[in-house]
Symmetry: C2
Subunit: 364 residues, 2 copies
């Protein structure tokens, strides 16, 4: 697959959808990727199967609260510093750029940096969506060590963290990120092609592009939400999906605290029946409940889109009175194993509910 400069509009829209409310507004990230692609050329997007087993694959991602991230523009020098430092500390030259998450800014950023460095980017990621913490990746779940973690900011400051514990490395790195301005570049889990093949969620860049294109095409045809659902049903991972609510926002609480955007949003149905849905988030939406009980829960995706255009809405874009459809989507199978649920299932976010697949909750 190749992504052109023009494809990035659809791609960023699809990535925003897969962000499940988090991952940051992809608008700035899309502009940055397009600028890098125009300046340095379009990067090759390669299938994980085509990456040699011994190849050095480096992640590059932004870490921070989306509410801060959208206020900072990118210029790529901090990403260069992260990659150069990772090369120094691992003693390996980077051969492939690997996305950490396909949701939000961190899906467009690896494409931008691959363009900038003249490297291929792998059509895969570690989440198949977005998650708020560094260790919430399939790379971690399936045994790739997190260290060294490299962090840099646009003041050309860098930090290298080494710990045997993913959770501890995450804690230290987030403390560093908060001190460095809560919007920093990061690389972690340096790995080989063999590691990628064993642990990554495959083809997610292609899927993000397909999702964004389906929404755009639906706007000229049968309606964007239907077009989106039709596309998801044909996909390898996201094929169990449904609109779980159609309503407007009647209550919204959102705080930037402890390095996260944390809050809840309540919607009321537009059909006048007074039904309500309550959704809680920590950067990403975690749990959706209505009067009948649980409707969708992490790691399955809870995505909010404009009810007319199906434009994905991130948590920092939520507003009182907004009219939205909430779409529940099945997570990729490697996110639903017991090891995976221990890392980013409901209990990892302090929820009391246990994971139930959306197809079971909704009898799809």
């Amino acid at each position: 697959m190749n992504l052109t400069v023009e494809d990035m509009v659809d791609f960023a829209r699809g990535a925003a959808f897969l962000g499940a409310g988090g991952g940051g507004d992809p608008y700035c990230g899309r502009l940055f990727a397009q600028q890098m692609m125009r300046e340095y050329g379009v990067p090759k997007v390669v299938d994980a199967d085509d990456v040699p087993d011994a190849a050095a694959c480096f992640i590059v991602a932004m870490l921070g609260a989306p509410t801060v991230t959208i206020e900072k523009l990118m210029d790529g020098k901090d990403a260069d510093l992260v990659i150069d430092t990772m090369e120094q500390v691992t003693g390996r030259k980077v051969e492939y750029i690997l996305p950490a998450e396909v949701g939000g800014i961190n899906s467009t950023l690896p494409i931008a940096i691959a363009a900038r460095r003249g490297l291929p980017v792998i059509d895969a990621d570690g989440m198949g969506r977005a998650f708020p913490e560094i260790h919430m990746v399939t790379y971690h779940v399936y045994g790739v060590p997190i260290s060294p973690v490299v962090i840099a900011n646009d003041h050309m400051e860098s930090v290298v963290v080494r710990s045997a514990s993913s959770k501890s490395a995450e804690d230290i790195s987030r403390a560093v990120a908060m001190r460095m301005g809560l919007s920093v570049m990061i690389s972690a889990y340096p790995m080989t092609g063999a590691d990628v093949k064993r642990t990554a969620v495959r083809n997610t860049l292609s899927l993000a592009h397909g999702i964004g294109r389906a929404i755009a095409q639906g706007r000229h045809g049968d309606g964007p939400v239907d077009s989106l659902l039709d596309y998801l049903r044909t996909s390898a991972y996201y094929n169990k999906c449904a609109v779980i609510f159609d309503g407007k926002i009647v209550d919204l609480l959102r705080e930037t605290t402890h390095g996260f955007s944390i809050g809840r949003v309540v919607l009321e149905a537009l059909d006048g029946g007074g039904r309500r849905m309550d959704v809680r988030f920590q950067n990403e939406h975690l749990i959706a409940r209505d009067e009948t009980g649980l409707r969708a829960i992490v790691p399955d995706l809870i995505c909010m889109v404009d009810r007319e255009t199906a434009e994905p809405i991130t948590t920092e874009g939520l507003k009182y009175g907004q009219r939205l459809k909430i779409i529940g989507v099945s997570a990729p199978p490697s996110l639903r194993t017991s090891e995976a649920l221990a890392c980013f299932g409901p209990q990892a976010f302090g929820l009391a509910e246990t994971f139930e697949p959306i197809e079971k909750l909704l009898a799809l």
Copy 2:
């Protein structure tokens, strides 16, 4: 000069005095140094003049709040990790261990680690006392870059911070230290012998030993406080000194917050006249005032000792009802320059008062 295992008792007492209330209780640090000296042999203590200009000199120090530091024992593996990591990132093999501060634990630690590594330790430091922040050293004041900063803890976690800004490196490192348990090993300001000769406060290990010995000798003679003052008056830096208060503690406020021990202590004179002295501290004592006004102010040393034995009392050892003498001591000249005062003078601690040398305040 050489320090024997037995000398460490006097040395640690002198270092506690020069800590000016901070630097941590030297008791554990002294035991650790003695253990290392017994196990690996006594290290050479060399004059800065005898260090070759090109020699690689590495600092090793503990960073943390004394209230936490005294609750954690040392085993040296974290210091090894700090030094090994500093060697990796600088590409130089350490040749000399250099103390960061002569006050408290960070005076005995370099001796312990020099013994452990079979290296000489330089008879000098970057403060001639203790200070609460990493950049508050003459190394920084006189132009040695702080980066890379290496931090490690006893879980064998390490962090390397690089920044062009000393203040920013300090802020990031303290955030890391807080996350890593508020008692970590650190190395920074890697420098050459020429840098040491240009920037260090010389002969301070010898002076700490002399101070501790003078107190001990006074206990069998004319009285330890007089013996201490007599010795200080013969020293190169600390020769302006006086007992500025003799009283008991009637009020004490002490908090561990923002990574520091912060507070104030009020003493009332023992002569029944009701005179009071108010001393404020941030790890170290910063300012001493009585009814007549300012009596001593940072960077001059404000040291509290038991009024009978002259045993130095650190801020975490202060207790209601304790009977103390407060001794004001002139700081080394290189701590009193305008560049130095900008770094660790009264304004650096948020005080409104400007620096006045103790010899002027007390008309010595």
